[in-house]
Every structure is written in structure tokens, then in C-alpha cells.
């Protein structure tokens, strides 16, 4: 069996709530929250693999959809994804009536 | 394998040729790798992939009683076109779907000329028979006529269904 892909760390788990579609974070308390400050951070490969497993389980329990790991910057809180697309995902649109201009 | 038509579950008197019980007197369905047992005198069926060429398939199926068209995934709609082409060529025998079609696809399969759909047991478990039985109720009206009348915008059907 081949070695699994190395996950970039540290990482959080993002998803969309099945019922509302809202962006949610996997929390330290084994749940989901819209508040990024409550996000569980995986700092080792094992922790990240565990988080991936939790993602799959939550999808199968029909709680969330489109769950995936997102790598974040070190030493920044609330979590700041490294990629601009994921930053945009957690801050909201930069244009339109409810625009959030910052990243 | 449960078999369903517009009325609900029906008895299935076909088995796959590979692994049919000994002495089986019903029909046998043969896929491309298979062969009928020596001396088999029951009804014969053919299993075809959705991408099979209709004319070749029709020629091969001469003398057969049944055709099963395989859908590898529910989103591969080629089997619906193959069914319509076979019917147009004159296939009058039994025609069934095989593969993971959803209950939501039952009505469209019947409209394309299938007589029945096979349901994979694991799908039956998860969706529940009720989902298949409910399907015709949820899709009573359509613009197009059914295969028997030729699919097309249904003036006649509009008038029939309104009354």
C-alpha cells in the first residue's frame, strides 16, 4: 500500500452545513461551528488523518457536505488559510451588499 | 435481484446464466463472456452495455426473448438511447435496466421503452422500496409521449391528462 499524501500543516477542517449551506469549522469539542476561533487545529500528520476520518464520518452522518482540510498560517489566530480562495471562503464575499473587504 | 415495473415488484423469471441454479427452467441472461448450459431450452436473454451499437445488438438478439441494458453508473444515460433505438428497430421482447439507477429514474426508463428495472439489493436497502413505488406518483405528467407512442411534445397527452 502506498504512503498517503503528506498533509500540509497546520490544518483545520472546513465544510458546509448540509441544511443551511453555511461554512462551518470542525471544533475542538467534536462538533461544528461557524466561528473560526473554535476551530480544531491539526498539528501532526496523525492528527490530520484523524480529522480527515472525522470529516468522512460527518459526511456519512449527513451533517455536512464538501468537507476538506485547509492548511493555515502558523502563529495566526483566528486561523488564516494560506490560500486566498480559502481565506475568501471563511471571510465572505468582498463584493456585493454584504461585502467584507478585508481578507 | 428485485425487479420492478410501473405496477411495483414483479416476479422475475430470469436468472444470470453464470451461477443459475441447476435445473433452472426459467430464462437465462447471458453477458458477453458467458454461454448457455448445454441443452438449455428455456428463454434466452442478452446483457448489453449502454454503449452497444443498436443495429449490431439487435442482430445479435434475434431469437432471444429478453435484453438487459447495463448502466455502469446512474449518471450514464446511454442506455436510454439504446433502449429507444432497439424498440425502433423492432425489438418486441422483454427489456430491463441493470445497474444502480435511482428510484427517480424509474419513470424515465419506462418512458424510453424499458419494461422493468432491476434494483441492486444494497440500493433497495438504502432507498427503500417505497421510494420506487412512489416514483410514478411523483412524475405523473410529462410533455413527451411514452415510447409506445413516440416521444415528442404531447398535444394528445396534454388533452388526455387534463381530462
Amino acid at each position: 500500500m502506498s504512503k498517503p499524501d503528506t498533509i500540509i500543516l497546520p490544518a483545520i477542517l472546513l465544510a458546509n452545513d448540509l441544511r443551511s449551506g453555511a461554512v462551518v469549522f470542525r471544533t475542538k469539542a467534536d462538533g461544528w461551528s461557524r466561528d473560526a476561533a473554535l476551530a480544531l487545529v491539526a498539528e501532526t500528520q496523525e492528527a490530520a488523518e484523524r480529522l480527515k476520518g472525522e470529516a468522512l464520518a460527518a459526511v456519512n452522518r449527513n451533517e455536512v457536505v464538501d468537507a476538506y482540510l485547509v492548511d493555515i498560517a502558523e502563529g495566526v489566530w483566528p486561523p488564516r488559510p494560506n490560500h486566498f480562495r480559502e481565506r475568501r471562503k471563511i471571510t465572505g464575499p468582498s463584493a456585493g451588499p454584504h461585502a467584507v473587504l478585508t481578507e | 435481484m428485485p425487479l420492478l415495473d410501473a405496477t411495483g415488484l414483479i416476479a422475475d423469471d430470469f436468472r444470470d446464466a453464470a451461477g443459475a441454479p441447476e435445473g433452472w427452467t426459467g430464462g437465462l441472461l447471458l453477458d458477453r463472456d458467458g454461454s448457455f448450459p448445454n441443452g438449455f431450452s428455456g428463454r434466452r436473454g442478452l446483457v448489453l452495455p449502454g454503449e452497444a451499437k443498436a443495429e449490431e445488438a439487435f442482430a445479435t438478439a434475434q431469437g432471444f426473448d429478453a435484453i438487459a441494458i447495463t448502466f455502469p453508473v446512474f449518471s450514464d444515460g446511454r442506455g436510454f438511447t439504446l433502449a429507444r433505438r432497439l424498440r425502433r428497430l423492432g425489438w418486441a421482447g422483454h427489456l430491463r435496466t441493470r445497474g444502480p439507477l435511482l428510484p427517480d429514474q424509474l419513470v424515465m426508463a419506462l418512458a424510453c421503452g424499458f419494461d422493468a428495472v432491476e434494483i441492486a439489493p444494497e440500493l433497495l436497502d438504502r432507498h427503500g422500496l417505497e421510494s420506487w413505488l412512489a416514483a410514478p406518483r411523483l412524475q405523473r405528467h410529462r410533455y413527451q409521449r411514452n415510447q409506445a407512442d413516440g416521444l415528442g411534445v404531447a398535444v394528445a397527452q396534454r388533452l388526455e391528462q387534463l381530462s
Binding site: 458546509n16 449551506g21 480562495r85 | 444515460g77 411523483l138 410529462r142 416521444l151 415528442g152
Partner: protein, 561 residues
Amino acid sequence: MYRYDEFDAAIVADRVAEFRAQVERRLSGQLTEDEFKPLRLQNGVYLQLHAYMLRIAIPYGTLSSHQLRRLAEIAERYDRGYGHFTTRQNLQFNWPSLVDVPEILEKLAEVEMHCIQTSGNCIRNVTADHFAGVAADEVEDPRPTAELVRQWSTFHPEFAFLPRKFKIAVTGSPQDRAATMVHDIGLVIRRHPDTGEIGYRISVGGGLGRTPMIGRVIRDFLPKRELLAYLEAVLRVYNAEGRRDNKYKARIKILVHETGLEEFRALVEAEYARLDGPSVDVGDQERARIAAYFAPAALQARPQAQAVLDRAAARDAGLAAFVANNLFPHRVEGHAAVTVSLKPIGAPPGDATADQMRAVADLADRYSQGEIRVSHEQNLILPHVALDDVPALYAALGKAGLASANAGLITDIIACPGLDYCALATARSIPIAQAIAERFADPARQAQIGAVGLKISGCINACGHHHVGGIGILGLEKNGIENYQITLGGDPGLDASIGERLGPGVAAEEVPDVVEALIALYLTERQSPAERFTDVVRRKGVAFFKPALTQTQREPSDAAA
């Protein structure tokens, strides 16, 4: 416009009940997300970056005021008070919850609307010229054709699981305002050169996205009554032969390209010869029934109206600009189709608030026979306005922030939602549109520049139609930053062309400077204002415009794109 009879209403009601059951089965887990996804897509429910998105069908871009008011209510009750009009004449809501969608569908069904087949690998909303029934050069109103195709394609049991999406557009005028040449099937209504009989020129395999292609004419003249059977033949060949191994090679344009036009045409004609046309086609009676709904608006010629409008415009520079840009001549004297621009400077292109929707609905009742159109250029149109009503209409639009006099000008930008909303996007598009519009806000400057056709897509899927923009902008990513590629010389009309790449991409903040430089080059080179930007690109070639990139580079340009 078309009104549902009991039959149409029953079909939509069936679908609402079916989707309600499907949502329940999804929430209970009977349907997995993989199984639910195509089912929800066929009801217009996408999962986007921040939320679900609901795409509502506006068949051939025609709306009643009643329907527009309902859309406003839905925006307020189930969303965040606004909606986005798209390049396929549909409306998108960006924030509905899945559990609310069945109720939204019910509210839509009450006003004869739905979200059927606005997504998924099926036949999508049939789009048409937004000046249908207005343009004097129209051979025939394309909307009865579009309505007929809509009915034929709705829940077509054979074509619900195609290799990929399928888009059809119709024009009734030789001025193709429906971009038929970049659709999977394009229909041009025309008269037979000898008999004068009305029929269709049929093109196949146009499309934008990763591999943009102009459609190929497969039938020069098809008699009107044969349309549905012929479409069935095309779709059947596509369903059977279209590639299913690679999502990016699955459109019919790839099939036509890989098969070759002659061979592809032969396949379609062979299928057409074999199928039983009369069982698919409708009779004259049904065609007449549908056409009756699109009878010309009961308008009287108003020979004095132009002079009244001219006098008012002479006194009001703002009105004069509005009249110069936003009016389209109507076949009935003394009237015009008025474009309500949804491109105010600095706002997201194509968006309207609930209040604005209601304002347009009220003005449609007052001034336009209760009818509104949605153009694929993301503007609204009041199609039947008396010219002497225009001053009052303009004043009322002004109060609602809807009187931008920029229809067809450089700030009338087409832009997809981009990375601000869309899960497929690679870069943002709306802020680029806003920045460019702000740079060119001066009305006098816009008037001088004329039509450019500036179109922005936030990813390679090209929903902003950048390939057919005079200036096209494609948002990608480079080195972890948004990067914008510019193409020039595209055109969406019957003389369609795909834009050519100018050079390496530029950063977001450089885009307005590059556009300014391009416009400067155009203004110095054009032979007259009648020579549009795209005309100059065709005459001089893209190389002529390269200085626009090098002049604005703040750093030496990279070797490779």
C-alpha cells in the same frame, strides 16, 4: 407571454413535490450526496463557496411584473434581499438554505416559475434575443420557438443524463443578440431564399469555457415544422457518442471537433432519417397555440412622441445621455425598448435589490405592458415604452438607482460572480469590474469610446463570456495571487470570433491601467467612431495592442504565462 395551462402547472407541481421528497430523503440519508447532487442540480441548487445557490429559470428572458414581484419577495424572505441576473437570462440567489428550497419552489410555482434544469447534465434554459417582438428586422419572434423547445426538453426521459450540460439559443433577427454561435445548438430563424418559407439555420458545437469554439452550421435550412425531430436527432447522437471519460471533453463541441463536421452531420442526418419525425414534431395547431401567447403587443403608433422626447432631452443632459444609449428602436413608431442598466458604477454587475426589482415591476406595469426582459448581458429591459413616457420613466429609475445611461458602453460590463461567490472560480471578477467602471465613469469619455464589449470571467469556465469580449479578462492564479489574462477581438454575433491572448497575465491592480492603455491605442488608431474596438483588433491584429501590457508593467514581464 406564455401562460401555463393546467398541464404546464401540473408538471411544475409534480416537480415541487418530487424535490420536497428528494430533500427529505437526502436529510435522512436515504440519498447520498453523490446521488442527490445531480437531482438537486436539475432543480438549480448548487453548493457555492459560502452557501447554497439557487438558479431560477427565466425562459427566454421574459418576465411579467407579477413574477418579478414574487422574486423580490423571495429575495427578502429566504435570501439576503438581492439577486443576480446571469448570462443565460436566469436569476441566482446566493444564500438560500437547502431546507427552504422546497418552499421557495412552491412560491415560484404559484407564479408559473421554476428552477427546472437550470443545472446538471441536461438541456438548460433556452435563451433568446432580449429584443424579441420589438426589433423591426426580426423575421419572426424567437420566443414561440424557445417555448416549444422548452416543453420538448423539460424532463425529456432520454436526455436527462447527457455527457454534459446542453445549451440552446434562438435568434429571430439577423442581428444575433442571443450569441447563438457559441451555444451547443444555435437556431437562427430565416426565410428560405427561394420559397420565402420560414425555417431555421442550425449550428452545433459552439461553446466557451476551456476550449472555446464557434458553432458549425449543420443545416442551412430546416423547415419550421421539423424542428423538434431534428433536435432529437442531434441530442440522440450526442447522448450516445459524446465522451464520458473526461469532464472537460464531454461537450458536444468536442464530439463535433473530434468526429469532423461532415461525419458528424452524416450521423445526425442518418438518425434523423430513421426516427419517426411526425411522432416527435407538433402540428400546426400546437404551434399556433403557443405563438398566440406572443402576439405583438397592442401598441398604437405615436408619431408625435419622438418630438416630445427630443424637447425633454434638450433640457436635461442626463436624460439625453440615457436616450442616446439605453433606447432600442421599436417596430411600432413612437416606442422603444428601454434598457435598465444593472451596471451602476462601482456595483456588482447584474445585481438588483428586492426594492429595485419591485420598482422595475411597477414601472413595467405603468410603461411597458407589464412585461420585462432579462438580457444575457445582465441587464433588464422594458420592451414596450412610449417615447413620450421616457422622461418620467427615467426620473423614476433614477430614484431607484437604476438610471445608469451606460447600456452598450465600456462600463456595461459582463462579469460572472467569480471567487466572491462561486466554488469553481480561480479569481475574483466583481472587484475588477468595479475598478474598471470607476476608471471610466465619466459619461463623456464613455460616449467617445463607444461599444467595447468588456467581459470578465473568474475562471476558465467562462461564464462571463470573456472569449467573445472585445476586451476579455480571465481571472486565474499565479504564484498564489490572482492573475488576469487579457484577450482581444472577441465577438458574440453571427460574425462570431474568439478573442486572442494579448500576453502574460497581470495583477488585479494593474488591470484598469492596461484597459486604459488599450483604449488609448484604440482611440488613436480608429478610422472613425463607427469602427469599434473589435473592428480595430481585426484590422490591426493583437500585436498592435501589446504596448498596453509593456507600458503598464511595474516589473519586467515574466517569460512564460
